[in-house]
Symmetry: C2
């Protein structure tokens, strides 16, 4: 009686190699760099692969090659049309170039963001996509220590040493306010997002304020209010602003969701937009053109922005030269929610 002590391998690259009668090295090559293996071998290997239904084990691959072809992204929340769109574009682009996306959320908390970054790095991501440039100090150190490339998206700060891609929020906000001023408004209110830990929000406020200042328009403190994230929050703020005995004839908003709140609340309080009140948004979400009245707003190509962020990282990882600061153009979309102020209040 004869004993065969060939330890038969059930799965994995060794099983494929055994079945095709080649070495594991060849299988690996056939998978990663098909041209490096002769056509005949490749055929045998391919056949073995799908005979066995072989699926490569990514963690082992990552461990061995030190590259994961995976990018991480940390967004404040996924439950917001804008981020959802951005993420969708990024993911689509990445999968088109053979990368995967590892997505996490920070809930607008810098500590959580740091923690998630640690998590993603531990997971072996090749690079990180972050929202804005307002991060925990530890995050920068973490990224440097582990030499993880990253990019800040949604902002444009050519003077800072970090890569970024996005629109110039200050300039765009300035444009929005200028539109209102050009229409003849002098009594202008601001409803912005919370500025704390949110560079995008504060840049927009800065742009609004600069436009007012340049036209010599005063902004009474009670005409600037900040609101958290939800539509309900925005409505509440709008209610306050519209019920001041001395109220503005126009409101510029930090984003479209806020603008929706103002629109809804104005209607509820019997104001007609744009006859009694003009409203400008920021972002141009889907709903903005469907609403009645449709919303005048700043169009920001979110999808493009996030895709570019992906491109930047993928390119850098491939060793290609890429520009660190990319500006994404915005545009003012004038719709139905803005008009000259009522003559009585002009």
């Amino acid at each position: 009686m004869r004993l065969t002590n060939a330890k038969s391998v059930k799965q994995g690259i060794r099983a494929v190699a055994a079945r095709a009668g080649v070495s594991t090295a060849s299988v690996s090559r056939a998978l990663n760099n098909p041209d490096a293996v002769s056509p005949s071998l490749r055929a045998r290997i391919d056949q073995a692969i799908d005979a066995l239904g072989y699926i490569p084990h990514a963690p082992a691959r990552i461990l061995s090659s030190r590259r994961s072809r995976t990018l991480g992204a940390i967004v404040p929340t996924i439950d917001n049309t804008m981020f959802a769109r951005g993420i969708a574009s990024l993911q689509q682009y990445l999968s088109s170039v053979g990368y995967m996306l590892l997505l996490t959320t920070s809930g607008y908390d810098l500590d959580v963001e740091l923690q998630q970054a640690r998590n993603l790095i531990s997971r072996g991501v090749d690079g990180l996509v972050l929202r804005g440039d307002c991060h925990h100090d530890g995050l920068r150190k973490l990224l440097a220590d582990n030499s993880v490339p990253f990019i800040n998206v949604g902002i444009y700060q050519p003077d800072r040493p970090y890569p970024c891609v996005g629109t110039d929020n200050e300039a765009a906000a300035h444009r929005a306010a200028a539109h209102i001023i050009e229409l003849g408004h002098r009594r202008i209110g601001i409803v912005s997002a919370l500025q704390r830990n949110n560079d995008r929000a504060s840049a927009r406020v800065a742009g609004f304020r600069r436009a007012l200042a340049e036209s010599g328009i005063e902004l009474p403190p009670q005409w600037h209010v900040e609101v958290p994230y939800t539509l309900d929050d925005a409505r509440e703020a709008a209610r306050y602003l519209l019920n001041l005995k001395d109220r503005p004839t126009a409101v510029v908003c930090g984003n479209d969701v806020i603008a929706y709140g103002v629109l809804l609340e104005a209607e509820r309080d019997g104001f007609s937009v744009p006859r009694d009140l003009s409203v400008v948004g920021f972002d141009d979400l889907d709903w903005s053109r469907h609403l009645r009245p449709s919303l005048t707003t700043i169009h920001v190509p979110t999808g493009e922005t996030w895709q570019r962020a992906g491109e930047y990282l993928v390119r850098s990882l491939a060793g290609e030269q890429t520009i660190m600061h990319r500006e994404i153009d915005f545009s003012l979309v004038v719709r139905e929610s803005t008009a000259p102020p009522p003559k009585s209040l002009k």
Copy 2:
């Protein structure tokens, strides 16, 4: 002269072990099961860990332990409030129990879904969360071959051999239609999502139809129209339906987005909702209560549903006994968009 040939290790668990003067096994234990190591050692190790800023390498961990504490989810698109909410809840829950979520999108394409599943399995996910029970045949085989636990979310099918969690769409749709019928409508149109490859959509249509049939109400073929995903598509369908010379007095919709389209188009065409036309949605998205008129719809606790899906998988992976089919209650939320039909058309 003496040569030290202790190969010094720069990083990794071995570096931590060296610095703390212990074995790698102890470090590993301190990390994964702190109670299994004496307090004094643990202290030394913890200190070494943050002196070195050590971050465990997840892929190595996965490779070695054959568990990743990662779940995968495949949704049709992230760019839809409902999925976004679900994913957000799932992610939050998973991170609260130390799991991560690997998210991908299929774009409503079964082949892509299969491909993504392969991708996720290759990545080493411990389990998979899928939308509905309408999958590529290869997917079931793939899951079985690799013995990857999974759950279908958003549906309730107690008679099928696969785990699922969700509302009974047929029953919920029946409830929605019944509401309209109770109000006195007999001329009822249906605008549904595409039924092909979408069990949820077809279950809802079935529920609508059953309610009509039970009340002996006819459904002329041209009163049932199917639309793709976007608000624009929905508006177009609504325009068609509302401009039939013989039009319904009420429309039941496959989801809220479709209902928004009907609402917007009705207003545009000069119909007053609910006076001239009643509209019912399905899902109860955020917007539904903000819209004017606010939308009567079926409330579905999306967040809870997805979280339960996560719970199911986490529990199964922990070896706990869990129920395979969990029904999530829905409720009819009556708001402003429904009323008895105009007397002239009754």
